[in-house]
């Protein structure tokens, strides 16, 4: 315990005294959030988005129209929930061969316009029956904030831990530590704890600062969000340890960490929803821990989801953590 605490304290001092790294960790995500809040919140979606509960609905006059995104999704309940949050502008589901139901949000101007368009292309053989839901709009920035928290967590964990360990290995610090009674487990645990505390502190500061300025929505429990961010951070740090477990070239480490982080940034739903993406892309995204961190934290923040609803994401993150950490502790080398 004494050895673990010493390495933990030393690592914290190193990071806090490295002004450049500390400043970058704090300033970068705040700049991104403010930038997006001002530039994209008013015109984030230029197209109408309509959810279809059945693929057979694609063959009619309405679905042949241009400039409308038709998103197939068999989960009607989920689509109506998205409609309430203005993530969809309309939802259509078949009732019978000649009758289809459509839902619009009473507070959505886009829903009003889509209804007018739908009535304009109505055929005698196919009638539409109106259903109304209501719910406040989730601004793009409300939706984005969980993605940015996840992205910041990912970069801080991957580059803050992995890159640092490779540097330690290259300049002989790890070799020097190997010559002491300090075990690999104690060393790795101290790295995880140090970075975890840092990530939680930085994420909290970003969250509070942005909330004070932008007033984004938080419908769920702060405790649940804390659990997701902690588990997500441990999972990302473990992935970072796995990457850094053997290599001693900073260039190779940088390349590998970029190969891992950039696909996650674009395919894990940081910036845009994968709702209408190709099924293969959606499946690929499920392999990334960032997808589960963002999905879970977004569900908590924008839907008020409890731990039960996000249990799938939590279990996946837990399994990934065990896999990454177990493998890295087996193949870790000091020299």
């Amino acid at each position: 315990m004494k050895r673990f605490l010493s390495v933990f304290i030393a690592r914290n001092k190193e990071f806090i005294r490295d002004r450049a790294a500390l400043g970058w960790s704090l300033i970068f995500p705040i700049l991104v959030i403010f930038g997006f809040a001002f530039s994209l919140s008013d015109h984030s979606q230029s197209l109408f988005k309509v959810g279809l509960s059945d693929l057979s609905l694609l063959n009619n006059n309405f679905t042949q129209l241009k400039y409308i995104d038709f998103v197939p999704n068999s989960n009607l309940e989920n689509m109506i929930s998205m409609l309430k949050r203005h993530q969809l502008d309309m939802v259509i589901a078949p009732e019978s061969k000649s009758l289809q139901k459509y839902w619009i949000n009473s507070t959505s101007p886009k829903g009003y316009l889509l209804e007018k368009i739908l009535k304009g292309v109505e055929q005698p053989t196919l009638r539409y029956q109106k259903q109304i839901v209501s719910g406040n709009e989730i601004r793009y920035v409300d939706w984005l904030i969980s993605g940015l928290l996840g992205m910041n967590l990912m970069f801080s964990a991957l580059f803050g831990v992995g890159y640092n360990i490779v540097r330690y290995r290259k300049n002989g610090v790890l070799k020097r530590l190997k010559a002491t009674p300090l075990t690999a487990f104690e060393f790795l645990l101290a790295q995880i704890a140090s970075r975890l505390i840092l990530i939680i502190c930085v994420s909290s500061m970003i969250y509070l600062g942005c909330h004070w300025y932008i007033h984004f929505q938080m419908l769920g429990s702060y405790f649940n969000l804390f659990i997701v961010l902690c588990l997500g951070a441990i999972c990302m740090i473990s992935l970072s340890l796995l990457v850094a477990s053997r290599i001693s070239s900073e260039e190779l480490a940088g390349g590998l960490l970029n190969i891992i982080s950039w696909p996650m940034m674009f395919l894990s739903g940081v910036w845009f929803s994968l709702e209408g993406a190709h099924p293969a892309v959606k499946k690929l995204a499920l392999l990334f821990p960032l997808t589960h961190i963002i999905d879970a934290s977004r569900a908590i923040m924008t839907e008020g989801a409890g731990l039960e609803k996000i249990s799938g994401n939590l279990i996946t993150l837990g399994c990934m953590t065990v896999l990454f950490l177990g493998t890295s502790s087996i193949i870790f080398k000091w020299k």
């Binding site: 004494k2 050895r3 605490l5 010493s6 390495v7 030393a10 001092k13 190193e14 005294r17 490295d18 300049n171 002989g172 610090v173 070799k175 020097r176 190997k178 010559a179 002491t180 009674p181 300090l182 020299k335």
Partner: protein, 252 residues
């Protein structure tokens, strides 16, 4: 040559292969307790590999290493101190913080203030490790090697890269450690260094031992015709004065 008790370390038929290359090829020697043992040789001779195998940092391909008659195990780390040839310290930590960090790894560490005095670290005690000069850095690394009050101290080319004044001051420091009855094992390129510090020398080339013995014996045996000895009484008193202590020499 000084005679010592039973060997503290015995190396028997030690071999280390790296793919096709044989870094160390079946060497054997023993090191007496309280002595200073030198591994001398050119780059690539296998000195550092031999040292790291004894330290437990590198696994030998075959052979035996005994500490006090038994194979070296994990507890050897508590009884040995190591100064590596090329190693860095954690950035953004002061000398004092680094010593405190390393002292926390051991069960019975020395008082770090005493170490600071022994290795003359006081003048840069609160300085960041990345702001140290080469000589200062070596003294900090030596202090770390001594922090657990080890029985055996490994020094891998401790004076490489130091200027002549810093090198001589470092030799004094090593001699003061030797006076505390520590066993010192050092590698070096410099015959002069080995001659001044070591009681016994092994000269290595291409992974094998090509000569072994006391420094004087080796010089007499191999360089008798080119060695000139001047009796001490013929050297002027001023030249025979001991070097000033580290702290003073640094100020000059």
């Amino acid at each position: 040559m000084i005679k010592y008790d039973s060997p503290i370390i015995e190396v028997k038929n030690l071999i280390k292969h790296y793919s096709k290359a044989k870094a160390v090829n079946g060497i054997s020697f023993s090191i007496a307790r309280g002595s200073c043992f030198g591994l001398l040789g050119p780059n690539g001779a296998g000195k550092t590999t031999t040292l790291e195998m004894i330290e437990g940092i590198t696994q030998p391909s075959s052979g035996e290493i005994l500490f006090c008659g038994a194979p070296t195990g994990p507890s050897f780390k508590e009884k040995s101190g190591i100064q590596f040839q090329a190693t860095s310290l954690q950035d953004f930590l002061t000398v004092k913080e680094v010593l405190k960090l390393f002292s926390s790894f051991y069960q019975a560490p020395l008082n770090i203030q005493e170490l600071a005095e022994l290795c003359s670290l006081e003048e840069f005690w609160d300085r960041d490790t990345h702001e140290l000069s080469g000589g200062q850095r070596q003294r900090v690394l030596l202090a770390i090697a001594l922090i657990n009050n080890p029985e055996v101290v490994f020094l891998d080319e401790p004076t490489t890269g130091l200027d002549p004044q810093a090198r001589r001051a470092f030799w004094e420091l090593i001699q003061s450690i030797k006076r505390k009855n520590k066993t010192i094992i050092l590698t070096t390129h410099y015959m002069e260094e080995a001659y001044i510090l070591c009681d016994e020398i092994v000269i290595m080339n291409q992974g094998t031992i090509i000569a072994q013995g006391g420094p004087k014996d080796l010089l007499q045996k191999h360089f008798n015709s080119v060695t000139l000895e001047i009796p001490k009484k013929d050297i002027s008193k001023a030249l025979r004065q001991p070097l000033p202590s580290w702290g003073n020499s640094h100020k000059r």
